[in-house]
Subunit: 422 residues, 2 copies
């Protein structure tokens, strides 16, 4: 597959496909379905016209076989089932630099084609016109770090739990506990937005009172990602309220809001956008269906996402560590030569003091948000010790010092390691 | 599972799940993950607080076993893998009547839980507050029929093909051919929106000139669904242009635009919204992952979709006929007792004169759009005969007359049946 960041004038997409049809014929069907192919001759169509807009098969490589079809409903020819990697391309002139129409073109009806018992989009590459048409992340890594005042190590964060149940004042009280524990970053749960039990406006005001008081006293303002997910006017109003109150981050659920809504939030926002990927499982859990994160995250970064959730190593969900690292590395890989659009990957789910060394060794970067729940709250000496133990673990990881060695001179880390081993 | 249309004050969702864990424990994890469950005790949480917002398991039924896990990444206990149906419910107060937050609540992180080797959302039921908060379809079946002037039979339609390649004038010329063939409905392909090769404004003007001329001469205005898919301001401008030109329908791709964008289109639109589901395969192709159409279509109808694509019997894609009929029936089932929100199902993909009898017999309704491509263009006597043959087939289906009998007195139907048999 191509390693180029961007393409001069065609849109490219890489797929893994599985088919018992002649695989070269099958990929021709893909290209036809998503461009100028027709099943019967149409008055007015000409070879020139079709050639102008046709999708091209740029690369094809058979990489293996499958013993049985991964997905139901495909043609069964009785021939061996081939697994192949294929790259298609389209002229930019088919759709222009439009993200919503890009999705219809590179994904669209492909996943329902009878020729395939598996089809997954692995990557996309775009002409620079897309970078001109969309803002991309306005804050990304560098400006997020400036706002939080954390450099040279990950931003250490946590999530308000329980997900739902707390009212505004209870959320503010827990926020006080968490910022007194010296956390850099706190986020709403994705289930908490503006329910009658915890109205957004009340929560934002109560939480920002706590944060602003802390900032006045300490000179340091932790970042709180307020979940503004809702209808468009609600999201704009909530963003404006957070901004007015002196808040420094808003959060939205990508799969709940959708692409056009996120583009609007991206254009409107004067704060970093913390992009939550809940629902990701239905897009990606089957390895021969749907979207790879590498392809998917590019679309949201262009739309303006500053922070992108990527799960974490040894997480409580079902994703492999290889997949997590590939996702995080993708967020830190430039989209265009002149406009990198880097987003800060957010590690979460079962994260404790034990994962930083491997996370840093494999990712090769500390440009990330490291969010823990139990990893902070369950520290035997309380949340402040929990937060300190995570910073100590990350410092050791970055300096290449084994955790056991670092624990000898870092009591909080030592106590956290003891607790996790018991 | 419940047959109630709506729920008094809780949100309900039905799932099929697959697990090798004790299935009752596994569904408790589902309920906890999507509400007030926490892995460690949190300062401030109380039993009352958790009870107020907790999701409840309303129903549970083991319905079978699986020989092997459907999806990778799940815990493997060595115990038998149970397939079960489960209903969860949430207090409306957790999120209020918010469609985006509904998606995060009923779907969200569930699909990534390690407890499950399969998880699919089958249906949702909502309190009437959702019907109050969102417009639902403004045109639906009855007003779409009024605009097209077709009653007592399906609206017969077709799609502009090739999907891409035609410019504005070529599209208008084909439109002339199609409306002279007496089609009720024509739609843009989902790959054609506003590319430089066929700008939206040029296409809308050229096509509406043809349609308006025809309407002046004949007194009948066929409905053309212009694909307005794009960024929000583009979609609004395109809608306004279509309205100003006298057009009667706009189309948008649900999975490209996303929920918040479609809610905005729904609130803005003064025309029926033809909702295209391209991309549906990545949400639903695996039977133990993702969304059933029965659950999914409810969200889009509430957002304002007037016409919903459902595929067709004996389609060229990989969906079963049972699934197609269940989808179409769902669109014609009321959402709320006082606000039915019916959407017109759109049958397409390989539709010809042969499918109407079974479609009508199984659906029990002719309130649908029946879109054919080759079924019209490939008629041996041309598109006008193709369109006539479809109307004749539907008339026979509705009257319960076998096609062979109807063909004796309907030449276009007879010729189409001969051609399809050869």
């Amino acid at each position: 597959m191509s390693q180029r960041l961007q393409t001069p004038d065609r849109i490219e997409a890489d797929y893994t496909v599985e088919t018992s049809v002649d695989p070269r014929q099958a990929v021709d069907v893909m290209a036809g379905e998503q461009s100028s192919g027709t099943f019967v001759a149409i008055p007015g169509e000409t070879p020139e016209l079709k050639a102008r807009s046709a999708a091209r098969v740029e690369a094809f490589e058979a990489i293996g076989t499958a013993a049985s079809p991964s997905l139901p409903g495909a043609m069964e020819t009785g021939d061996p089932i081939t697994i192949a990697r294929v790259t298609l391309s389209w002229p930019l002139a088919n759709i222009g630099a439009s993200l919503p129409n890009l999705v219809a073109t590179v994904a669209g009806n492909l996943f329902e084609l009878k020729q395939f018992s598996g089809l997954r989009i692995e990557d996309i590459r775009l002409p620079a016109a897309f970078g001109d048409a969309y803002p991309g992340p306005r804050f990304g890594v560098a400006k997020t770090r400036e706002l939080v005042g954390v450099h040279g190590r990950p931003i250490i964060g946590t999530i308000i739990k329980p997900s739902v149940g707390f009212g505004a004042e209870e959320t503010a009280q827990l926020t006080r506990t968490l910022i007194e524990a010296d956390l850099d970053f706190i986020k709403d749960d994705e289930l908490q937005s503006d329910g009658p039990s915890c109205p957004f406006e009340d929560r934002a005001q109560a939480v920002m009172r706590v944060i602003n008081n802390h900032a006045e006293r300490s000179g340091r303002k932790p970042m709180f990602a307020f979940n503004i997910t809702g209808d468009l006017d609600q999201m704009r109003r909530r963003h404006d309220l957070v901004l007015e109150l002196g808040g420094t981050c808003v959060m939205a659920s990508l799969n709940s809001v959708g692409l056009v809504g996120m583009i609007e939030v991206g254009r409107h926002s004067q704060l970093p956008i913390h992009a939550h990927r809940n629902g990701w499982g239905y897009l990606s859990r089957h390895p021969m269906l749907g979207w790879s994160y590498v392809a998917w995250q590019k679309i949201w970064r262009l739309a303006g996402a500053d922070h992108m959730h990527v799960n974490g190593l040894s997480n409580k969900f079902c994703e492999s560590d290889d997949s997590v690292i590939a996702s995080a590395a993708a967020c830190l890989t430039p989209l265009f030569a002149d406009k990198p659009c880097l987003a800060m990957p957010v590690f979460s789910s079962g994260q404790t003091v034990t994962q930083p060394p491997e996370t840093f060794a494999r990712l090769g970067s500390a440009d990330l948000i490291y969010a823990a729940g139990g990893g902070i709250m369950a520290h035997p000496d309380g949340p402040a010790a929990g937060a300190a133990s995570l910073r100590q673990s990350w410092q050791a990881a970055i300096e290449g010092v084994p955790l056991a060695t670092a624990a000898a001179s870092n009591n909080e880390l030592s106590r956290a390691l003891e607790a996790s081993a018991s």
